[in-house]
Each structure stands twice: as C-alpha cells, then as structure tokens.
C-alpha cells in the first residue's frame, strides 16, 4: 500500500509541476511598462516555491516507498527531538522564504503601488458602483468638476454627482462607461466607490486594485500595446458582481485624440 501511495504522489507532483513548467494555462500577454518586472518576480517566486514543492513531495514519496509498514513488526523511529523540533524548523524555513521574497519583490511592487505617477500622466477619474464602472475625462478645459454625492443620479446619467448648473469646470467633463486610453502614455486613475468595495482588475495590465468606500486611491500605468481588454470587478460586491465589467480600449494617439474630440462634441 505504501508503494502505491508513493507512486500516486509522484505522479500528482510531476503532473502539477509540468503544467507550470510547460506554461499550460499560462498568464495572458502583458501590455504594461511595469508588467515585465512583475512577471519576472512572479517567475522567480514560482521557481523557488516550485523547487521546494518538488523536494518536499518527492522526499515524502521516497519515505513512503522505503519506510512504509511491511507488517514485519519493526519499531517506529522518530527524528531526534520529535515533532516539536520539526514544526519549529518548518515555521522558520517558511518564514525565511516569505521574508526573502518580500525583500526581493518589494521593488517591483513599489514601482506600481508606492511611487507617484509621472507628472505628464493623463488623469482619468473612475467611479465604481453596483454593478458598473464609469470613467470621467476632464474635457477641453483640463479641469474636473467638483463631485457632489447628493447629486448622483443614475436616471439622468449623472453617475459622478456633477453640478454643471453652478460649477463651470463640470460642464465639459466627459463621462463614459468604457476606458479608452492612448498607447505609450502614462495614465493616472483616481478610483473611488459610490457604494461598497469593488476592484479594478485588468489581467493584461498586471493591475489589481481594490476600491475602498470613502477613499480615493491613485493607480498608474502605461499601456504598451493597442487593443481591447476586459476590466473586471474581483471583489465580491453583491448580486450582480458576476456581471460587473467594462472594457479598456488602448488606441494609437491620433485615434484617441479623435475619439476624445468626438466625445467632447456630444
């Protein structure tokens, strides 16, 4: 029986490892400037943890094969010090591994989450609500109108709570349901939620950031490829969560300028 389990364990271990090694179900294409650093870090982490996984599982299989009870009445032997020492050793080893990965990975993480956006970044305001994303561009005057939560009305399309009657910068703000951006241009999103927690996730941008009600959170990135990509909410936010998505469209600069001009004219 011990030999049978050893074989099953070896097969499971090798199949799981080859799924990663052969890049089956691998990550989608990366379209961001910061993405390669994250992907490199991800790869290194996967190599480290994968090596640990293989060593642990194959040792287990070896011990199963060699030392399984054969019914010959052998005495059970333990590691010196018993389970206590083994557990302490395991906790210290895993702790060291996590600490080491944090040190090595913090640079890639900080470039996305701690460094401010470059000064030439194009600012787009994002409001999430159950169950849609809305995006706001400053319009020709380059200024955003002030937000008045009491004026939010989905019925007349005032998703941000603008007050164009009294607030002149709000009059030319462009509010749309899809995120359209120019390629190779740094983008700064300020994301905020109307109701509950949501999340902004674009796989190809390697960005996942929660919306926290009451907080405006900056997110910045630069897209390096044109195309249409999906933005999904990855924070369970209610009944329609499965259906909460929008599209990111990355356009060449001239096409983006045309698009923005057309939006401003409406």
């Amino acid at each position: 029986m011990g030999k049978f389990f050893a074989i099953v364990l070896t097969v499971i271990t090798l199949v799981s490892a080859s799924i990663f090694a052969m890049h089956i179900w691998w990550m989608p294409v990366d379209i961001s400037v910061h993405g390669p650093a994250l992907d490199k870090q991800f790869g290194e982490t996967l190599m480290g943890t994968g090596f640990g996984f293989l060593v642990a599982q194959l040792s287990l299989a070896y011990f199963l094969w060699k030392f399984a009870d054969k019914g010959d009445g052998r005495k059970v032997r333990e590691f010196p010090g018993g389970p206590k020492v083994t557990i302490i050793t395991a906790v210290v080893l895993v702790g060291l591994e996590i600490l080491a990965l944090s040190f090595v990975g913090q640079k890639a993480w900080a470039s996305v989450n701690l460094d401010p956006a470059p000064p030439n970044a194009m600012h787009i305001d994002v409001q999430a609500e159950q169950f849609a994303f809305y995006f706001r561009y400053a319009g020709p005057d380059g200024q955003f109108g002030a937000v008045h939560p009491e004026k939010i009305s989905d019925g007349n399309g005032n998703y941000f709570g603008l007050d164009p009657e009294n607030d002149i910068p709000a009059r030319d703000d462009i509010v749309v349901g899809s995120l359209t951006i120019p390629v190779n241009q740094p983008i700064l999103l300020t994301i905020h939620s109307k109701d509950v927690g949501h999340s902004f996730y674009v796989r190809e941008l390697r960005i996942q950031q929660d919306f926290v009600p009451g907080i405006v959170i900056p997110v910045h990135f630069t897209a390096t490829q044109t195309g249409k990509f999906e933005i999904v909410c990855t924070q369970l936010c209610g009944l329609g969560h499965y259906n909460m998505k929008a599209y990111l469209e990355v356009l060449p600069q001239d096409q983006f300028d045309q698009w923005l001009k057309a939006q401003a004219g409406q």
């Binding site: 849609a132 007349n156 399309g157 509010v175 349901g177 329609g240 409406q266």
Partner: protein, 239 residues
C-alpha cells in the same frame, strides 16, 4: 304562476342593472385634450454605454439615450403623466393588468401609468438577469431578481405614488411607475399630446407630472359631453 315568474325575472333584471350602475363609476363622454411643451433650453440627453451587456447592446443600432427630459418637435415634452388629481375619486381598478417590460436593458415604457390596486406584470424579455427595484416610499419597497426566462412578476400597489424604478444590476436602467387614484389619465406622446376620454360632467383638477420638474395643475369644468383643451408648459433648464 306565470306572472310570478315574470315578476321575479323583472326584479332580477332591475337588481342586476342597479348593481351594475353602483359597481361602475358613471361613464361620461367628456374629454380633455392638450399638448405638453417646454420653454427654455432642455438638457442634452446622454448616450448609454451598454457594452458590458453585449446581448442588450446588439439590440440597439444607435445608443439608447437617457430619457429624463425627452423632447420632440415643436418643443414637445414626452413622458408627462396628465391625470385627474381631484374630482374623480372612487373609480375601481380595471380587470386588465398593466404590463412593464425589461427589453434591451431598457424599461418599456419609460413611464407606466396604472391605477391603485391594478395588477402589474413585469416581464424580463432579455437574455440576461435583471433585478427590478421600485424605490417606493408610501408603498412597501421591494426588489426582485429575474433570470432570463423567468415568469413575469405579478404585483400591485395599494397607494397612489410616483415611484422611480431602477435595476440593481444595470445602473443605467431607469423608469417610473405612476400609481394613480383615477382611471382618467394619459401620458404625453412624442408630439407632447395627450387625450383623456370618458369624463362625466364635473369639476376637475388636471395635473401634469414630469419626473424632473415640479408638477402643474389646472381646473377644468366639463358639462355634458364637452371636449375641453388644457395645455401645459414646463420651464426647463440646460443643466
């Protein structure tokens, strides 16, 4: 014996007709027609982006627009509920229910008038789930989910109220239930016109309700089978 039979029949017919008279409000043939228009610059209606719901987006060749101030040629104002707000109490609800549709991720019609206690059927004609949420204040508030292919929701309202309706899944979906105490009402069409028929003689208050601007009323007296005219003008603002 024979005369007794006829007497009984006559009494039955009289009683029956009498009950009919008491059960139904006196039917009239007076009418109030008119046009709802606006002065000023109306706000620009905004296109609705339905790209996240492809099954709805593909039903519309051009984007659906918001409908809070829907205008037509000749300064016409659409979706205004014109109804008798005083002078017409006590008309019972019709047996025919009112129908409300969720189609192409829109509410059809945008404004649905109905009577107190009238049956209301809400259909989901889409290939996606809807969660209708009428934001009533006087009546009990509820919301119900309808996956594609669900049977219609059967309900009614017991108190008169103008109820904003929204979808908890598609934030752009917006409409109104106009629950009225009268059977005499109309909703202004694309040309702003309305026609309230079947009014018995009497003194009435006619009210025009629009979702964004304050309601207006006029006194109208109908004698015989008069056809009266009442026009309403709403002052609109660009923002």
């Amino acid at each position: 014996m024979r005369s007794g039979y006829f007497t009984a029949l006559a009494v039955a017919v009289l009683l029956g007709s009498g009950m009919l008279v008491f059960a139904k409000p006196p039917a009239g043939s007076g009418s109030i027609t008119g046009k709802v228009t606006y002065t000023g610059t109306p706000p620009k209606m905004k296109p609705i982006d339905m790209s996240k719901e492809p099954s709805c987006a593909k039903q519309h060749a051009t984007p659906v627009m918001t409908q809070n101030v829907t205008t037509g040629p000749g300064n016409a104002l659409q979706w205004v509920v014109v109804y008798i707000s005083a002078g017409d109490e006590g008309s019972s609800a019709p047996s025919q229910g009112a129908r409300y549709d969720q189609k192409g991720c829109e509410y059809l019609p945008h404004v649905l008038p109905m009577q107190v206690a009238q049956q209301l059927q809400i259909y989901n004609d889409d290939q996606t789930s809807h969660n209708i949420h009428p934001l009533s204040k006087t009546n009990p508030e509820w919301n119900k989910s309808q996956p594609p292919g669900s049977p219609p929701i059967d309900t009614k309202y017991d108190k008169a109220e103008f109820i904003p309706v929204k979808c908890n899944i598609h934030p752009w979906m917006h409409g109104y239930f106009a629950v009225l105490n009268t059977s005499h009402y109309a909703v202004s069409g694309e040309d702003g016109s309305f026609d309230i028929k079947g009014l018995p003689p009497g003194k009435y208050t006619v009210t025009a309700w629009q979702e964004q601007y304050p309601a207006q009323s006029q006194e109208v007296t109908i004698s015989g089978s008069e056809a009266k005219t009442a026009n309403f003008v709403f002052k609109v603002l660009p923002y």
